[in-house]
Symmetry: C2
Subunit: 406 residues, 2 copies
């Protein structure tokens, strides 16, 4: 008899038939005598519809009211799943964020969970009741409904698992685990049986959309054993665990790519103290997130070329900010390029193995792919290349690091 948190995403609860499928999975675990918390997302498409309503209502809206609107989708799914579970003879009740309560900060639209009171849910475990929890939502110190950001139901699930000291947090989604690369472009991609928190965190940040980044951070901090698996099949998924639990460590565990990148180059930027602050300050003020940065000193040593990346959707805004500041910054030319992709290789094994970067650069060079920007961390290397090379780059690297299926 264990405590287990099960989380079902939007495609897993897309209609009443799928909710019944979810209920059958929950019943199977309940029949094994486990104590269960089930976290649900909104039916797929519902949250987008609600976001569209808010956007149509006003171009700039108060996030407190946005949260009221968009949190309603999870409420519907939670009630429906409780109804279906009861219909299957499983004792169950729905819980909204404010009922538990899941206390959050008042950062509406992107609130952080501060505290979860699990007393009543634990008491009801003793009566054999399953708790069905509306994901994505909480309650602010002032008693307003908050939401946790897109994909926030993952964080709801991990936070509940941490608060309950659950044995496992199963994240059911429409893929059956975490792959060495996106199987849609690398048919030879393999499902990983295990992956470390650190690797999962890099993957989530670098474009693999399996888990919300913040949920992985929380799982790592609280040491919650997360399993990613499909609600449509019965195959085992991928366990996200501590590095110690992985006996045979691959040097590289996965390759990711992100097309949501755009490159900006400023030429002939005066090479003086404060130049970088002069450029990145106004961008930060405009809430534009800058990712990779590289600076080359020019031959005359008096100016530099500065290249960096922003999200593709923020490129036009970034260009406008920089053009407005041209007089102050005194750069030569501004070149913007949206046709780039960031390709990354990830693996905790990198820490103890030299040569990973060299393999990457050699492989890409052999295919004639020019590297525009490089950034590295302890367990990942990212390069920016022209977008047209996406498939070629990713497949070559997948093969080069021995990740192709046997």
């Amino acid at each position: 008899m264990a405590r287990i948190v099960m989380k079902f995403g939007g495609t897993s609860v897309a209609d009443v038939e799928r909710i019944r499928n979810v209920a059958n999975r929950v019943k199977a675990e309940a029949d094994r005598g486990h104590h269960l918390v089930v976290v649900v997302s909104a039916m797929s498409g519902v949250t987008n519809q609600l976001v569209d309503y808010a956007a149509a209502a006003a171009s700039l809206y108060e996030l407190r009211e946005y949260d009221v609107v968009v949190s309603s989708g999870e409420q519907v799914t939670a009630g429906l799943l409780a109804i279906v579970l009861q219909d299957l003879g499983v004792s169950a009740r729905s819980w909204m964020g404010w009922q538990i309560p899941i206390e959050t900060t008042d950062a509406h639209g992107n609130a952080r969970i501060e505290r979860i009171d699990t007393n009543e849910i634990e008491r009801r475990f003793g009566e054999g009741q399953v708790a069905v929890v509306a994901g994505f939502q909480g309650v602010s110190p002032l008693g307003r409904i908050t939401t946790l950001g897109r994909g926030g139901s993952d964080t709801s699930a991990v936070a509940l698992a941490a608060a309950l000291r659950a044995e496992r947090c199963d994240i059911f989604t429409d893929v059956d685990g975490v792959y060495t690369c996106d199987p849609r472009i690398v048919p030879k991609a393999r499902k990983l049986a295990k992956i470390t928190y650190e690797e999962m965190l890099e993957m989530a940040s670098l474009g693999a959309k399996v888990l919300q980044t913040r949920s992985v951070e929380m799982a790592m901090k609280e040491r919650v054993r997360v399993q990613v698996l499909s609600s449509f099949t019965d195959t085992p998924g991928t366990l996200v665990v501590d590095e110690d639990e992985i006996v045979e460590k691959a040097i590289v565990s996965g390759i990711t790519y992100s097309r949501d990148e755009a490159k900006i180059t400023l030429t002939s930027v005066p090479d003086r103290p404060g130049a970088a602050a002069g450029i990145f300050g106004p961008l930060a003020d405009a809430s534009i997130n800058v990712d990779m940065i590289v600076q080359n000193v020019a031959a005359d040593s008096k100016t530099t070329d500065l290249t960096f990346t922003v999200r593709k959707s923020e490129l036009n805004r970034a260009v406008k900010v920089l053009e407005d500041q041209r007089g102050v910054l005194g750069y030569g030319e501004l070149r913007a390029d949206p046709n780039v992709v960031k390709v990354s290789v990830i693996g905790v094994g990198m820490r103890s193995h030299a040569g990973v970067a060299k393999s990457m650069f050699t492989t890409l060079a052999q295919k004639g792919i020019n590297i525009q920007v490089i950034s590295t961390s302890e367990i990942k290397i990212s390069v920016l290349v022209a977008e047209e090379y996406t498939e070629l780059a990713v497949r070559s690297l997948h093969a080069a690091y021995g990740l192709d299926k046997a």
Copy 2:
């Protein structure tokens, strides 16, 4: 500077454009310096969709979970209206039933309001803030979400008006007031400038779907001045008020009809004490509501014929209950007839004027319409006639009582 409650039904908030129209009306009242509570229904069609989800989830569902599902529609509208009001420069915030709180009984699906704490809303009136309240919903003593029955947003509005001692409760709907009869079948129907609570109550119970019956009961008890008007036009609506406020009282104020009736006749029922209880007891146990009842003593004085009406949707169930009890009840024949309509004339003037019933019976007789069952109260007379006579009966009565447009 007055306190006003404004309530907008589903068709008035059917999409974001209409919500903007509603917001403009609210802004106009706010600009006059009034203190406003705005109660909203779900966007039209949404509640039906949610009810359908619940019905698809299980044939018999727990009403506590049903309430979680169906209350979400009003939450969305409240958030959206607050956003649009803020966009128009009006200070506003949304309130869910549990946030105010609107405390109700725990009779889920059909809860009654017990108490409303208006302190915080009144405090914010002082800051010029408009309260946008999700209608139809409240919170039970155990902190669960409750709903007030279909049309319950009317009751939310009237209850808030009573709690706030508001000067007026404006119910905005898709018709521009209360008519002497349904204009779809009586083109000569006139809009009433005023109507008494008692008449409105009879009209609501007898088929006019303008206001939820319970909201009228509450308005009458708490003496809330209710105005029914259209959100799509600027014409004055109908005031529902105390009898004293109406100077020129018509003898008959309106004619209603209800097609949701079915007739059951049991012949040769043994005429002995307890016979009626034997019949209506099992129907009540099956939650079947019996409306009109008439009993004729047969010539032999030892048996009677008993005729009564039930809702059309409950006819099959009622027949089954009675057939199951046939051995016990010992009646001769059971005749069921769904092709009937209940036509009623309503007016507080009836109390002081004789001859209203006679006019009704004479008018119907002149048109060759046979009356099957009669029931009366102090201010209304209802008759059951064959459904095919609906239009003829209603139009003839409308003319006979002098209600046709000048």
